[in-house]
Amino acid sequence: MRWPTYISITLVALVTGLLLTFQFRVSSRIEQGVPAGRAQELATELHQLDAEISRLQSEVSDLEAKLRQATKGQQQALAAMAGELTKAKIAAGLTAVSGPGIEITLDNPPLLLKTGRPASLYVIRDEDLLRIVNELRGAGAEAVSINGQRIVATSEIRFAAPFINVNLTRIVPPYHVLAIGKTDHLQAAVSIPGGVVEYLKDLGVRVEIQPHDKLTVPAYTGTRQHTYAKPVQSR
């Protein structure tokens, strides 16, 4: 055999090796397939994006209508701004709202049990209420209150000595959490197996969930001063 023959054989071997490697990789990818979870995640994201887009579209048309109105004259401009104010106030939690929703009642475990079993020493913690509120928000709650305190963007739910404070106001058990939104979604979100309600029930906390056709969530009553936050004027 001569020199060029060696070269050609080397090349052929190289190509074969590469092909084999690729082949193996592709085959193993096929066996794994596409993780079903990923496709599902994408589908969920898409669903939520679509919902947001439709909300944004209605917002745009609403603002456009207001803008047209505002250019007509002072009186109309006033009305348009008043409309915006009403909307902002609802979003800020400065207006009482009503609608369908659920009511969750939580109470500490009884101190004495008739059955003679040792009573649970568990007390509902601030974190428990925080988790419930977070679940409700995740399920699309539009307005939430605890014992008459509207939960706004800056509301805290926090232990202060033995009591829980919400909006710097002391609340005592039983805790009534009201949430307005799609009743089924809200109910499912909190009562999902392994969820927060099941966890609390295991600890002996008395939890009751009740759907309502019409609930009223009160307005935020505190006076909110913006001492530090100053508006940035739009560009």
């Binding site: 944004l56 603002l63 963007a153 001492t227």
Partner: protein, 245 residues
């Protein structure tokens, strides 16, 4: 020309055959992978998600522009008090960007080396940890909050999805999570760093927490829609909450 058949000719023939077979397979499989319903579906979904994201961002920009335009028209008229009230409500609702002194809290997963047999889940940052930090900041008087640039509203949830956090329903945030809060800096820093407080608890698990004082922090507005599908305003505030039946 006369070709003498030697043994290496045979070897070369075999190699050529193998290569052509492999090539054929290769092409078919690669094509099949791309064409298989699972992959196609995923690609189509990913494409749609990207498109929807773009559409959403464009709409968000439009909403912001329209609001600014409306404000400009109103500014020329005698709407002073109304505008002031509107600004206040908008800050509270998260519909207006604000700036002021504040703190930035950066959170990331634990950097501790996990011993075999230990539960790695304990060393990972959870949605509850983020919730607790936010709650602490609120209790310390934070006036506006954002996480990774997403303004937090009264309805914003914090939800773990794998290693990412989902907030405002359709915004996926990736670590490190940076929480910005405008308010009294000393109050906020002290309450986070209090003995037995949230930072001490997190540090126990090795979760990386860094608190930074920022003198001029800007928190963006939530540029989304504020439409409510279920909640309707009550004209005259009812007396407290509806009594449970």
């Amino acid at each position: 020309m006369r070709v003498t058949l030697k043994s290496y000719h045979f070897v070369l023939f075999l190699a050529g055959l193998a290569i052509s077979l492999l090539l054929t397979f290769q092409f078919r499989i690669t094509r099949d992978v791309v064409r298989s319903p699972a992959v196609q579906q995923k690609q189509a979904l990913a494409e749609q998600v990207n498109q929807s994201r773009q559409e959403r961002d464009a709409l968000k920009k439009r909403v912001g522009e329209l609001r600014a335009q409306l404000d400009r028209i109103a500014a020329g008229q005698q709407l002073g008090p109304l505008k002031e009230e509107l600004d206040k409500a908008r800050i509270e609702a998260g519909l207006m960007a604000v700036s002021g002194p504040g703190v930035e809290v950066t959170l990331n997963d634990s950097n501790l080396v996990i011993q075999p047999g230990e539960n790695p889940n304990l060393y990972v940052l959870h949605d509850e940890d983020v919730l607790n930090v936010l709650n602490e900041l609120r209790a310390a008087g934070a006036e506006a909050l954002a996480i990774n640039g997403q303004r937090l509203l009264a309805t914003s949830e914090i939800r773990c999805v794998g290693p990412t956090i989902l907030t405002n329903k359709s915004y996926r945030l990736t670590p490190p999570f940076v929480i910005s809060a405008i308010g009294n800096q000393d109050n906020m820093i002290n309450s986070l760093q209090m003995r037995g407080g949230i930072i001490e608890q997190l540090k126990f698990w090795g979760i990386q927490v860094a608190v930074r004082r920022v003198d001029n922090l800007t928190i963006p507005a939530y540029a989304g829609s504020i439409r409510f599908d279920y909640a309707a305003p009550v004209a005259a505030p009812a007396d407290g909450q509806e009594s449970p039946s």
